[in-house]
C-alpha cells in the first residue's frame, strides 16, 4: 500500500466518522439533557435508542409495503417520528418509576438518591433489553433502502488516485441529526420551556420558589432526552443491523461522548459524540474490528480519570 492509498483510507474513515459521529452526537445530546436537568445517570439510554430503532423497523415493516409510504425518505421520517413516540414512553416511565427516586423526593435519600437512580435505570435497562428479546427476537434486523447502498463519489482527487465514497443514507441521517440538535438547542435557549428547564437544572429549589414546577420539568426533560436518543437510534437503524442487546455497547459510546464534552453541556455532548465517531472509524484503519469499541472504552476511561469535567462543559465536582 502506498502513501496515497493510506490517504484515501484516512479520508474515507474521517468522512464515515463525521457522519456516524453526528448520529452519536445526537444521541449524546439526549443523554446529557437528562443528566443536565435531572442529575440522573441513565443506564437505560442505550435501550431507549434500541426502542427507537425497532420503532423505525416495525413501522417500516408494516407500512413500507404501501405505495404511498414506499419512498426512500420514509425510513428517515420514521426515525424522526420515533422522537415523539419515545417522548411519550419517557414521560410515562418518569411518572411511574423514575419520579420516585429523583427530584425533591431524592434529597432525603442516601447520597441524594444517586444510588437508587443508578440501580433503577439499570433495572429498566435489563427489563427492556431482555423483554426486547421476547418481543423482537434475537435475529439482527435492519431498515434499509436504496440510499443505504448508494454513495456519492468525491474525487477523483490528487491526479485521479484518491476517491472518497460518501454513503447517501448516512449523509441524510447526519444532516437530520444536526438539524435536530440545532432545533433543540434553540428550544433550550430561546423558549420559555427551555428557560424553565435550565432553571430547574441550575437550582431546583430556587426554581420551585419562582413558581416553576420542577417535577414537570424533569418529566419533560426525561421525555426529551429519551426521544432525542431514539431519533438517533432510528437514524442509525438504516445503517447497520441491530438486535435487542445493542444498547449496552452504545450506552458506553454515548457516555464516552457525553463525558468528553462535559456532563450536562448540549454543545459539548454533540462535539463529544462527533469526536467519538471519528475516533471509532479512524482507529479501524490500524486496529482489528473487535478492538474498535475497546479503544472507545479506553479513551472513555482516560478522559473520565484525568479530565472528568470534560472539555466543553461547566465545572463540576468529580472527586
Amino acid at each position: 500500500m502506498d502513501g496515497l492509498q493510506h490517504l484515501e483510507n484516512f479520508l474515507q474513515s474521517l468522512v464515515a466518522g463525521l457522519l456516524m459521529g453526528s448520529m452519536y452526537g445526537l444521541m449524546c445530546v439526549g443523554l446529557t439533557i437528562i443528566f443536565g436537568v435531572m442529575r440522573v445517570i441513565n443506564f437505560a439510554q442505550g435501550e431507549f435508542m434500541m426502542l427507537g430503532m425497532y420503532f423505525a423497523y416495525f413501522c417500516f415493516a408494516w407500512l413500507g409495503s404501501y405505495a404511498f409510504f414506499g419512498g426512500v425518505w420514509f425510513p428517515f421520517m420514521l426515525a424522526l417520528l420515533a422522537g415523539p413516540a419515545l417522548f411519550l414512553v419517557g414521560v410515562i416511565l418518569h411518572r411511574l418509576l423514575i419520579n420516585a427516586v429523583t427530584g425533591h423526593r431524592a434529597s432525603g435519600l442516601e447520597a441524594e438518591g444517586h444510588y437508587a437512580q443508578l440501580v433503577l435505570t439499570l433495572g429498566i435497562a435489563l427489563v427492556l433489553q431482555n423483554g426486547g428479546l421476547f418481543f423482537f427476537g434475537s435475529t439482527p434486523v435492519s431498515v434499509s433502502n436504496e440510499l443505504s447502498y448508494s454513495a456519492w463519489e468525491w474525487g477523483p482527487m490528487v491526479g485521479d488516485r484518491v476517491s472518497v465514497f460518501v454513503n447517501q443514507a448516512q449523509t441524510v441521517s447526519a444532516i437530520l441529526a444536526v438539524a435536530v440538535v440545532v432545533i433543540f438547542g434553540l428550544l433550550m435557549s430561546r423558549t420559555r420551556l427551555g428557560k424553565s428547564l435550565r432553571a430547574s437544572a441550575d437550582n431546583p429549589d430556587a426554581a420551585t420558589y419562582m413558581g416553576i414546577n420542577v417535577d414537570r420539568c424533569h418529566r419533560v426533560a426525561f421525555g426529551f432526552g429519551v426521544g432525542i436518543t431514539a431519533i438517533g437510534g432510528g437514524l442509525l437503524a438504516s445503517n447497520a443491523p441491530f438486535q435487542p442487546y445493542i444498547g449496552t455497547e452504545y450506552v458506553i459510546i454515548m457516555y464516552a461522548g457525553v463525558v468528553l464534552g462535559g456532563l450536562g453541556s448540549i454543545r459539548g455532548a454533540f462535539l463529544g459524540g462527533l469526536t467519538i465517531g471519528v475516533l471509532q472509524q479512524v482507529s479501524a484503519i490500524i486496529l482489528p474490528n473487535q478492538l474498535q469499541n475497546t479503544i472507545i472504552f479506553v479513551c472513555f476511561l482516560i478522559i473520565i480519570l484525568f479530565r472528568p469535567q470534560g472539555f466543553f462543559g461547566r465545572k463540576e465536582r468529580t472527586a
Binding site: I41, A100, V101, A111, L122, L126, T248, E249, F297, A319
Partner: protein, 588 residues
C-alpha cells in the same frame, strides 16, 4: 474477635451444615447444579457488597474480576493442564491485584463518575478476549486423575465446595465488617470528607475494600468456570454479571452480611426454574426477572429486604448502621486525653506566607501567623475574610498556591487530611458533618482510630471524649437524632478522640442560645486544661473576649491585626473593618 462476630460465625456454621444436609438428600443433578450456582452468586453478591455496600461507591464492573478469574482457570487448564485447585487460588490473587490496579486510578472519582468508569473495565476486557480468539474456552476432562482436577462424578462435591467457599467469604465479611474496616467504610459512605478529617485514610480503606472484593470475585469466577465447563466472554464479562452481583446485594440488604446471600437464594433459583420452563418462548426471562426485582426493591425497600424487615420490626431505631454494641463505659478517665507536649518549643504551629486564590479572589494572601503551645487563639474577621479557607488549608482539604505550614517542626504541605490528623491537628466543621446513621459512640470511635492500636483502646478514648463533652447518656443514639448543639459537642468529641495537640474549631457557637453557649465554653476550657491548643473561629465577640488568650483578625485573606482581647477591641483598623463604630459606644 468480639461477640457479634462470634455469633455470626455460629450462624454461618449452622447455615452451612443445613445446606449440606439438604444437598445430601437431593439426587436430581439439575437441582444439584442450582445448589452449586446459588452459593457462587451469593459470593459475588458479598464481593460487591464488601466494596459498594459498605463504602457507597457503586461498582458496575465486578464482572471484570469475575471474568479474569474464570478465564484464568479455563485457560490454565486447557493450555498448561494446571489443576483448578491451584489456579482458583491464582484467580483469587489475580482478582485482588486487578482490584488494586482498577482502584488506584478510579478512586480519584466519586459518585456518578466512579460508577461510570467501573462500567467500562469489563466491557473493554470483553472485546479484548474476543479479539484474542477466546470466544469459547472449554475445560478439558481429565480421565486419569479427576479428583486432582476438581472433576467429580458425584455433583454433591461441587455443592460442597461452593458452600464452603460461601461460608469462607461470609466469615471474612463478618470479621471485616466488625473491625475498623467496616466502620471506616461506613464513615466513607456517610461523609467522605468528615472521615478523612477524622484521621481515616479513605484511599487506603477503599483500596483494601476493592482488593478483597476483587479477590473474592476472582475466586467465584474461577470456580464458576469449573462448574460450567465452558467460558465465553459474554457469560463472564457481560453486563449481566456485574448487574447480578449488585442486584443480589441490593435486593437482600445493602451493607449486611446476610443480605447478598438472601438475595441470591431467592432470585437465582426463581430465575433458573422459570428459565428452564419458559426459555423456549421467552429467552430473556432471567434478565427481566432481575430487572423487575431490582426495580421493585428500589421502589418499595430501597436498602433491601433485610433493612425493610428491620425497620418494620423496630421503627423507632431509625436507620442505625452501627455494627458495634453501643455502650460506652462511664469510668473512662478524661485525663487520658491529655496532650503529651513532648518538645519544649513554645510555638506549636507556624504559618508562613500562605496564599490561595480562587480566580481573582485572594482567600489567603501572604498570610503568616504563629500559634503558641497551649493557648486558645481566636480568629475573627468579616464574612469572606478567609477564615474557613485558612482551616481548610491547615488541615489539608485545600492545597495552598504558595507558602508553608510547619506543625511541631514538620511541614504539613502535600499531606492528606487524615495524615495531618494523625500528626495531631484535629478539626470541627462550620456545618457539622456527623455520620448520621451511626451512633454517637461509633462517630467518636471513628475519630479515635487514628491513634489506637485496637478496638478496646479506641473505645476507651472515645468514651473519655464523650464524657468530657457531656454526652455520655446519649452515646447509643444515632447522630441523626441530635440537636445542632449536641452535634457540635459530638464533633468536638470526635476531634478530641484522635488525641490531637491542636484543635481547629470552626464557628462552634453560631446560632446557640446563651445557656448552650455557656456549656460549650465550659467544655472548651476543659479541653484547654488538658494542654490541647485551640484555634477557634467565631463571630460572637462577647463570648470570645471571655474565652480566648489572643486574637488574630483576618480581612480579605490577610492578617489585619493580632493581640490580646483588650488590644483588639480598641484597635482602630479592627473596629473599622469588622466590629464597627457601634462597638466602641456600646462596649466601653
Amino acid at each position: 474477635m468480639n461477640t457479634a462476630a462470634r455469633k455470626d460465625l455460629t450462624q454461618i456454621g449452622l447455615f452451612g451444615l443445613v445446606y449440606v444436609v439438604i444437598a445430601l438428600l437431593i439426587s436430581n443433578s439439575y437441582y444439584q447444579l442450582i445448589m452449586t450456582i446459588v452459593p457462587i452468586w451469593a459470593v459475588m453478591g458479598l464481593s460487591w457488597n464488601l466494596l459498594s455496600g459498605y463504602s457507597g461507591l457503586i461498582s458496575f464492573g465486578h464482572a471484570a474480576f469475575f471474568g479474569l478469574g474464570a478465564y484464568l482457570v479455563a485457560l490454565c487448564l486447557s493450555v498448561w493442564n494446571l489443576s483448578p485447585w491451584f489456579t482458583i487460588v491464582l484467580a483469587t490473587i489475580t482478582g485482588g491485584i486487578s482490584g488494586l490496579l482498577v482502584g488506584l486510578p478510579t478512586f480519584r472519582l466519586r459518585g456518578h463518575y466512579f460508577a461510570l468508569a467501573m462500567l467500562a473495565y469489563p466491557l473493554a476486557l470483553l472485546y479484548i478476549f474476543e479479539w484474542l480468539g477466546y470466544q469459547e474456552v472449554a475445560l478439558p476432562m481429565n480421565r486419569e486423575a479427576p479428583l486432582a482436577y476438581m472433576q467429580f462424578e458425584n455433583p454433591f462435591f461441587y455443592v460442597l465446595i461452593a458452600v464452603i467457599l460461601l461460608m469462607l467469604v461470609m466469615a471474612i465479611t463478618s470479621m471485616l465488617s466488625h473491625s475498623r474496616f467496616g466502620l471506616s467504610l461506613l464513615a466513607i459512605k456517610l461523609d467522605e470528607d468528615a472521615a478523612e478529617a477524622a484521621g481515616i485514610n479513605t484511599l487506603y480503606w477503599k483500596l483494601v475494600a476493592i482488593a478483597v472484593s476483587g479477590a473474592i470475585a476472582g475466586a467465584a469466577g474461577g470456580f464458576y468456570a469449573v462448574v460450567l465447563l465452558i467460558v465465553t466472554p459474554l457469560a463472564v464479562f457481560g453486563m449481566l454479571v456485574s448487574a447480578q452481583a449488585l442486584i443480589f446485594a441490593m435486593f437482600g440488604g445493602v451493607g449486611t452480611l446476610w443480605g447478598p446471600v438472601l438475595g441470591a437464594f431467592i432470585l437465582v433459583p426463581l430465575s433458573e426454574i422459570l428459565y428452564a420452563r419458559y426459555a423456549a418462548d421467552f429467552p430473556g426471562i432471567q434478565g427481566v426477572i432481575y430487572g423487575v426485582a431490582i426495580i421493585a426493591v428500589i421502589l418499595f425497600a430501597p436498602e433491601g429486604i433485610l433493612w425493610k424487615l428491620r425497620s418494620l420490626r423496630n421503627p423507632e431505631q431509625g436507620r442505625l448502621l452501627a455494627s458495634f454494641a453501643s455502650v460506652s463505659s462511664a469510668d473512662s478517665d478524661e485525663e487520658i486525653l491529655a496532650c503529651r507536649n513532648g518538645d519544649s518549643d513554645p510555638e506549636i504551629m507556624a504559618v508562613a506566607n500562605l496564599s490561595k486564590a480562587y480566580g481573582g479572589l485572594m482567600a489567603a494572601n501572604d498570610l503568616s501567623l504563629s500559634v503558641k503551645k497551649g493557648e486558645l487563639l481566636g480568629i475573627i474577621g468579616p464574612n469572606g475574610a478567609g477564615k474557613t479557607t485558612l482551616f481548610n488549608l491547615l488541615n489539608g482539604f485545600v492545597k495552598p498556591d504558595s507558602g508553608n505550614v510547619i506543625f511541631q517542626g514538620q511541614s504539613l504541605l502535600k499531606k492528606r487530611p487524615s495524615k495531618i490528623c494523625a500528626m495531631g491537628v484535629a478539626r470541627t466543621f462550620q456545618v457539622a458533618k456527623p455520620f448520621a446513621h451511626l451512633s454517637i459512640l461509633d462517630n467518636v470511635v471513628l475519630g479515635a482510630y487514628v491513634h489506637s492500636k485496637n478496638e478496646d483502646e479506641a473505645r476507651r478514648y472515645a468514651s473519655a471524649a464523650i464524657k468530657l463533652v457531656g454526652l455520655l447518656e446519649k452515646s447509643a443514639e444515632p447522630a441523626s437524632n441530635l440537636t445542632s448543639f449536641e452535634l457540635r459537642l459530638m464533633e468536638l468529641a470526635r476531634a478530641l478522640a484522635s488525641r490531637p495537640s491542636l484543635i481547629l474549631v470552626d464557628e462552634i457557637l453560631a446560632g446557640l442560645d446563651s445557656a448552650a453557649m455557656a456549656n460549650v465554653l465550659d467544655v472548651l476550657r476543659k479541653v484547654q486544661v488538658l494542654g490541647i491548643t485551640i484555634v477557634i473561629i467565631e463571630h460572637s465577640m462577647q463570648a470570645m473576649v471571655q474565652l480566648v488568650d489572643r486574637f488574630i483578625v483576618l480581612d480579605h485573606g490577610a492578617l489585619l491585626a493580632e493581640g490580646s482581647p483588650d488590644e483588639i477591641v480598641r484597635d482602630e483598623r479592627v473596629i473599622e473593618a469588622y466590629l464597627g463604630k457601634k462597638w466602641l459606644l456600646d462596649g466601653k
